[in-house]
Amino acid sequence: MAAAAVRPIRVVIAKPGLDGHDRGAKVIARGLRDDGMEVVYTGLHRTPEQIAATAVEEDADVVGVSILSGAHMTLVPRILALLAAEGAHDVGVVVGGTIPGDDAETLRNAGVTAVLTPGASLAEVSAAVRDAAARRRSAIG
């Protein structure tokens, strides 16, 4: 298999809800780009509907959802449901932010591929996104 034929991993970095903490989202967008991925950043204050639509339009392998407002248990399940409704349940969803441990477990059980919390390095974030993309690509062949 020729390496050139492999499309780079496509990631949508998304900021749902009303919180304005975009430092992490922007740092991670740059980190993933510098690691060779194609990155789309939604900008702030997007609805779950807008995020799911962007993921489908961009044919994303992974959606990275950044939330530091505490509203993750409202917003993330809606993004998962909307992706499923669009027929995009294979898209990996990675969540980053201030997520308490028991909430993280609930989110993983609901279909989130990985939950990253403060202190994670760019290498750890990149590995989680690569893993989520690999699962999607093996799932869709």
Binding site: L18, L44, H45, T47, G119
Partner: protein
């Protein structure tokens, strides 16, 4: 404790003393010997009654001023029942949607006696209108109200990202608010020019200093362009800086800020009054310096940062609680953070002398370097046509994003050490007991706003909103019709919608 009396000051003849222009060494000659800093803990969660109880607990524990944290829907100008508010009502701050909520928030507190800070910028004119209505209903006239409204919309576009309408109409609203306060609220600080969020978003100390001062210059220009003399408005400006973990640089930053502001206000605007030239600052310890790993380490970090604020000459101080990387603070963790300030004030002797590090070769040199670096940025901003244009073009935002990425890379490759994160890391411990948001709050606040809309006089309400829109389209000050509308039961979301109808909602361009 030895009890040895501290010498007052050792400045040589002709050298700058505390309280003298350009105020490098402090805005007042005696500093904390005359008046201690205000211990002002930022608090807000749940329904207004929940935060009112936290305010009372903090005052009982010895806090000396109030500081109000609003929830995300309020900061973005949405009512609790707006679709975008789902899951966020009362979660990161207190839910306030009406003058009635404002009355509940400060119920039983003497607003003529305790100073009140409200950290809100986009909807600041609306929040002030509701606060004035609530205070006057409780018997305190607006002229007696003392406190601070943040109103710093430029730093919202730069860093905090809670905005309503585009940059230029936002500046118009700031100008209306400052003009109103100059005429009717002589004890009120109309604007708190804030570097805190700029630093939290990833800036360097020099960028925090430069962009904050540049924002202040832009507000001063707005008022001078309206025909105000500098000494009519500048005394009502206050500042808000971050105290990061780098002790000496932070002390130097506060010293450089005072020198730079005083010099610029004299050079650029011809300000003469001492009250215009003295930069007075609230300081908050840094949120991003805290770690979720081994969170009790944050008690020590916060103590060092608070010491930097005190040695740097802050006028009021918030100390973060150790659990704020995990959630809003509990009552216990907030009290521990307040106790940290009380130890600095009453046990350490740090408050005994004005500018105790003045004359240190290191701190003097860092002060000069930071001032020079900030002046370089200010020159660049002038070349770009001033700060409002620079913000529209995304210049400070891009500089901060670069610095934030460089910081993360330095953490990842170990050039920068955070104990417990990338050095001396311990296995994860048990998660501590943290503040949990009450899921009932959202439902109750939605019911309240629905009941308010159903119960008010529809004709009065519609006319009051029309008057707000008319003021926005014309040149009349928007504050009087906002106060009338808040009194007639208009909600925060409706009044912010009036701004958005006239000027359009601002959308994040999503630059990175």
């Amino acid at each position: 404790m030895s009890g040895r009396p501290l010498p007052l000051d050792a400045a040589r003849d002709g050298a700058e003393r505390p309280g003298e222009f350009p105020y490098t060494r402090g805005p007042y000659p005696e500093m904390y010997r005359q008046r201690l800093w205000t211990m002002r803990m930022f608090a807000g969660f749940g329904a207004p009654e929940d935060t009112n109880r936290r305010f009372r607990a903090l005052l009982e524990a010895g806090q000396t001023g109030l500081s109000t944290a609003f929830d995300m829907p309020a900061l973005m100008g949405y009512d609790p029942d707006h679709p975008l508010s789902a899951g966020e009502v009362g979660r990161e701050g207190v839910s306030v949607a009406s003058a009635e909520d404002m009355e509940r928030l400060y119920a039983g507190l003497d607003l003529g006696a305790v100073s009140t800070s409200m950290t809100i910028s986009g909807p600041a004119p609306v929040a002030l209108a509701m606060f004035v209505v609530a205070a006057e209903r409780a018997g305190t006239e607006r002229a007696r109200l003392q406190g601070t409204l943040q109103t710093d919309i430029l730093k919202e576009f730069i860093a905090q990202k809670e905005w309503l309408v585009p940059e230029r109409p936002s500046m118009r609203l700031v100008g209306d608010l400052i003009a109103f306060c100059a005429a009717e609220m002589p004890l009120w600080h109309a604007v708190s020019v804030s570097g805190y969020h700029i630093r939290e978003a990833g800036s360097t100390a020099a960028q925090e200093l430069a962009f904050t001062i540049a924002d202040g210059v832009a507000y001063a220009e707005e008022m001078v362009d309206r025909g105000f003399g500098p000494d009519q408005v500048l005394p009502r400006f206050s500042f808000f800086f971050n105290a990061q973990i780098d002790l000496f640089e932070e002390v130097a930053k506060l010293r450089a800020a005072r020198r730079l502001w005083a010099t610029l206000m004299r050079e650029r605007f011809g300000a003469r009054s001492e009250r215009s030239l003295r930069l007075r600052a609230h300081v908050q310890t840094s949120g991003v310096s805290l770690t979720a790993q081994e969170p009790l380490l944050n008690v020590a970090r916060t103590a060092v940062e608070a010491l930097a604020a005190v040695l740097g000459g802050a006028q009021s101080l918030h100390t973060n609680a150790w659990d704020e990387t995990l959630a809003l603070p509990t009552e216990e963790s907030a009290r521990l953070a307040l106790r940290t300030q009380q130890m600095l004030a009453f046990e350490t002797g740090a408050a005994g002398v004005a500018d105790p590090l003045g004359g240190s070769w290191l701190v003097e040199r860092l002060t000069d370097e930071l001032e020079a670096e900030a002046r370089g940025y200010l020159d660049e901003i002038d070349r770009r046509g001033g700060m409002v244009q620079a913000v529209i073009d995304g210049y400070p935002q891009a500089e901060i994003a670069e610095a934030a990425y460089a910081f993360q890379q330095a953490l990842d490759d170990g050039r920068r050490v955070m104990v417990g994160v990338n050095a001396f890391a311990a296995p994860d411990g048990d998660e501590p007991r943290i503040h949990r948001a009450d899921p009932e709050v959202e439902r109750r606040q939605v019911e309240r706003v629905l009941a308010l809309r159903a119960g008010r006089d529809a004709g009065d309400h519609a006319a009051a909103l029309d008057a707000v829109r008319d003021a926005c389209r014309g040149t009349d000050n928007v504050m009087p019709p906002l106060i009338a509308a808040a009194d007639a039961g208009a909600t925060l979301g409706e009044l912010c919608d009036a701004f958005r109808e006239v000027w359009g909602a601002y959308r994040d361009p999503g630059r990175w």
